[in-house]
């Protein structure tokens, strides 16, 4: 799942206008950090403590872990004789950084009634205070800017995870409580989908390793290095597959037809009794869907969401098409090519679509990929097996945290992330 990929931090020079830069950085820091707490505002202390499955973390844990990240990789690293806020928080809130010491087992994050939400917020505020103080200190090491940028991107990733996770938590409650009371406006049918043809050839994808990873040019190391790929001519669809189209797939008996599925996918369907996307529920008269706004009638015009890779691949097969490779996706999303319709429907946040899009590509290192040295770089590649790349972004992706080269990745059976699909085919 979500790895915390480390930034391609420049360790060389720092901008000369350090004062104003520090101010801007601090401003940005406060804005991003505040947003995590804003996201928790509708939640009770109990909501924030629940772990509904091993993949899910409690909201409270997200709030604390992202704070530990700043404490561990900046304060503890750069401040002499730094005294941790609490002697056991490193144990409780380290996610998977083996080099940073022992840690609490992931499936047991939901057993931690203490520290309370209130105590976690106090932890946040004290670390924020210390960070602010530190950022205002003189002779700040040049790499601090990059580390803060990385920490804030990390926080943004967790903001999306927090929403994915709380949706799952609330969905497990028979009361089906809404996270947000905001009304959903039914979407309008958009322009009809069309196939966009690309000629392919020798193309470059990925990102150059940055000399300086300012906010605007930040990327994770798994997006590097920029490298060549040969692409055969292909077509990609302008639209995401919609709920309405998925209903046709269901009605055609596709969930009962093994010939459409990968062998693993078919076994997964049988073992887990899968016959529709996660969060869908059939009533007597209509399909309903559990959302962050509670249980609502299924909106046929919206992109289908919460499907596994297996389902996406079966749908593409059924539709006589295939999933795009990540290289095709990135190339097709490029500026100097005719872009596909990234916003088929109403979409507030999603810069690259309302749902992440499964690709045909296994998550593997780009040719020439190099892991960074040190604690943060420790795990750059350690998740590069058995997972699948998703491209785009989702409606819950924080503003500013999406880009053409972003490589999201999940195991093929996972569905609680906001994942849909876009079709492709050979041209």
């Amino acid at each position: 799942m979500h790895t915390m990929q480390s930034a391609q931090a420049s360790t060389e020079e720092v901008s000369t206008e350090s004062v104003s830069s520090a101010q801007a950085m601090l401003e940005h820091y406060r804005r991003v950090r505040q947003f995590s707490e804003t996201l928790c505002a509708p939640l009770s202390p109990e909501d924030c403590a629940i772990q509904s499955m091993p993949d899910v973390s409690p909201s409270k844990w997200h709030l604390a872990h992202t704070t530990w990240f700043f404490e561990q990789f900046i304060l503890a690293e750069y401040q002499k004789a730094y005294q941790p806020f609490h002697p056991q928080y490193a144990y409780l809130f380290n996610s998977y950084y083996i080099s940073q010491g022992e840690r609490h087992a992931r499936p047991q994050r939901g057993l931690l009634s203490r520290p309370s939400l209130h105590q976690v917020l106090a932890y946040r505020h004290e670390i924020d205070r210390r960070i602010a103080e530190f950022l205002c200190s003189e002779n700040l090491p040049t790499e601090i800017h990059s580390l803060v940028t990385l920490g804030l991107n990390h926080e943004q990733q967790h903001q999306e995870l927090l929403l994915m996770d709380i949706k799952h938590v609330l969905s497990c409650n028979p009361l089906l409580p809404a996270y947000s009371e905001k009304e959903r406006t039914p979407s309008r049918a958009s322009s009809p989908p069309r196939w966009i043809t690309h000629s392919g050839g020798l193309q470059e994808i990925g990102r150059t390793v940055a000399r300086e990873a300012s906010d605007a040019h930040f990327c994770y190391d798994n997006e590097t290095p920029r490298h060549k790929q040969w692409l055969e001519p292909f077509a990609i669809n302008s639209h995401l597959v919609s709920n309405g189209e998925w209903l046709e797939f269901i009605r055609d008996g596709a969930y009962q037809n093994p010939l459409l599925w990968l062998s693993e996918g078919w076994d997964w369907c049988q073992q887990n009794d899968i016959s529709h996307p996660l969060y869908w529920q059939a009533s007597d008269t209509e399909w309903q869907e559990f959302t962050l706004q509670g249980q609502v009638p299924l909106d046929h015009n919206q992109p289908v969401c919460h499907i596994s890779y297996y389902e996406a691949a079966a749908f593409a097969n059924w539709a006589g098409a295939r999933l795009p490779t990540e290289a095709e996706w990135e190339y097709a999303a490029g500026e100097d090519h005719s872009v596909f319709d990234l916003h088929p429907n109403s979409c507030e946040n999603g810069d690259f679509g309302q749902v992440w899009q499964w690709t045909a590509s296994a998550y593997q290192p780009y040719p020439g990929f190099k892991a960074l040295a040190g604690g943060l770089g420790e795990y750059n590649g350690k998740f590069m097996s058995s997972q699948i790349v998703l491209r785009g972004s989702a409606s819950i992706t924080p503003s500013g945290h999406s880009r053409r080269s972003y490589r999201n990745f999940f195991y093929p059976h996972m569905r609680w992330q906001f994942a849909g699909l876009r079709l492709a085919r050979d041209a």
Copy 2:
């Protein structure tokens, strides 16, 4: 595990002094009900929501379930056109009463962040108000007194469960928080243990089915009927086995010696890597024990607690003794016989010892046992397989909720209840 055994309710007459009786009943009702909330006073909303294993229920769930019990079996049963407090609470807070409709799966009680603790307390107070009103109504059916008595005994059982459960919840937190800050006073060595011999013969155990189950004479139906058992001469020890004695068992390598164990018990040890009682922890210099007062040094004079039946049986074997049968235990605890020392150490609440005592008896119906008719009687015997009877009571058993004939029961591998042992042998 703990079944909610229904009362032997008389359905015939009601005492003529109904007014004062109703007042006394209400007074008793309020006292018992209030105590459940008092037990939760040291707990945060998050503490009350956690389920640390399938056998454990969140404190909040105990508070709500005991309330549902009164609502379901009294208000809904006896009030015309009764409107439930909440349409889904019967689903959420029914434990295992199949006749009372569908219910939330037990292992998922910890997924319910809603209703909040605050809402559950509001539920309690409203049902308390309705019950009080109902009890003051005229022409109260004669069986109400018995039902209230049963409901309060049920509540007391859950008070003990709540403490067992919250101890387990807190023990799973690496911070090892204390439930109560009250200091533990080290116990003094008591008088030396001695063997008390009984001549046996044809004895009666169990309780006669009550004509009228007033508070003072209440018992669960699994304690009935009173019946004869032939006992060979035997001796029973005056004392519970102590932590100090258990340390000798450990030091003698008993956890590594398969010849001392039941075959099932040995397999259980190997599969779960068992080498000491639950909640014990060896540090470099001494043994420590997690308690409701937090982590403390092991008190050698205290009775050993949190052991499985398998461990109890192996200890008895190692000691050249055996466990008493439940008939022997009850007979030995009788008034007209020399009773064993029920309070070897300081013991506040426990009327029959500080820890429940594993017996040699499988939990099975007494000869002539009859299940009551109706919803409450529905499950009188349904837990009578594969479990073992424990006798006595524990330090956390509510005052007034223990008696000589009480049959507690757990599966042989279970350890989170407050269970120890007393030795017996053939005379």
Copy 3:
């Protein structure tokens, strides 16, 4: 499951007519040992190697294990400088005797293609030769006769296990091969069932510890000591419950009615999708049953077989009756009381009925039970937890291997043994 309970061997004197006694013993030895091989005659080498579930052992393993028993407990024990037949057979063919050294894991007995069936038979014949030689030696220790008797009773137990196991093995093959081609003659309806009333009172059950365990008086130690039990008046049915009666139970929806079941039993049904006895199969027009003679139409007059304790208890509940305790069963089967109809139908081998009969009694030690010293006595009680006593015998029980006091035992969910039930009720 089946423990190998050790004999109550006298260690004192031996009969003076030692020569003819040794001859008779050897004769008996050969007859019993030969019968094991006769049972395997219809089987191929592959049939004899398969383990269809962890509880089942391959036929070949039974043949070897019973041989190892004689080698280990007689030859290796009593012959100076005894050279084992094969250095690793003790490892491969020790079942569960921890004191006799390490052993091959039970669930992996089916992985042993070597030694071949041919080699196992060679092993048997060589040990038979050595035993014969040994029994003809002078100054035979007095306890040898008891050990041989025990070994032969052990072999007979395994003869029944071998048939139970091979039936399970063959049932897993879609070809549904028959073990034996012998035709089954349909049974006639017997005399109508009737209730036989017993007055109870203080009764003795179990067996006195034998001074000398000659063949005719052999018993396992779990049948001892003889002891008193108080019995209330009760009635027991003359007949075993039949397939026809079980069909009524099915047609009445009993497998779908949780109120009839023990809580554990209901969960077991749900988790394993149980809706009929093991080996039954519904076709379009009729019920069929897999037997040692292959797939045959269900015979309504035959006793129901291959049911779990949970099913037996639910049936008794449905029928407004209960299971007898083992004390009631043994008392009712006694000489000086009106015995129940042990052979309701055609029954070739079964001395006490065609199927073992689940009782209401947990398998626990009799009061005063003492484990023997030494390797064979090592495990006398180690299986006395969580299992249920069955009484009687089955059509596949070897002739001469059944008696009134015999205590068979299995876990309550087990069904591959030949188990049915007889009803009882309070008088």
Copy 4:
């Protein structure tokens, strides 16, 4: 795992010299079919019936399944009113062809004592007779030659599987029996390993879809189509990693160092207690290895074998190198490039090395891959998820069944196949 990829069969013309061609084909058919039986010659009926884990099939099953393949896809398809040899063999011996009907569950192949080995051989001989008769018939459809070729390649795949599987079966027996008594000659140290540099660029890999798939040009469809890949400059090692080098990896504590491993791989090590390759065993004085010739001292010069992808990746990481991609491997193995030393040691059969070589590439369809129509083509891509490509061949690969473009694939944790590794690095 091993998919049965279907041939790229031409359906157009057939060679005019049909008679001699049919003769040659039949000759080839007999030779390949006979070799399967030759491989089973050292095995007993019991050896041939055992399934030691779900991934393993009994030898007998391999013999029958490859026969069913010819019966199903040739005789049943092309002969009018074809009567199957046995009505249930299609059920028993269909592996995973959903379009060909229901089939016996894979993990239960070891439960089939019947049909016996003898009956399976009779099945083979009768189908061989019918095939021979059919191949001599006039007007043979043009695609038969391709289907026979495919069936024989399928048989060869299963010959390798049979050896992998029987090695696993025998390894589970504490007697550690040898499959073959042939002595192993210790290998000599070969020439020192060296890095071979390739300039990369736009290269073609894979195979053109054949117009006519004669034996000499046969390939599976997953090897097609031939397509371009851009390769950066890289170096590949001339030698396979040896047992001696693996010992250095072990001695350096690599199995205890999480920083060397993929996250999944580390979890796999911990959960399965992995500290050396499968079949290795440490004695007091030396390492031993279980082989088809029984237990032997570890040969340091031999290529390491029976490692998982996780171990291969960790080794490469430890060695400061990486695994080659499958494109790099195929390109480096090409005729017009300096090939690496495919035979570092004595190697009888392996055309491309003694062990399969894990690559860095996930098993996915080549660009433009098209599944064939019909039953055989049904599953061409259904295994293309979560598996890893291995290239080369192994010492147990049948002669003539290896080629540069061959794509073998297994799950990353699998080790019972003959898999090792060759290192690569960026140039």
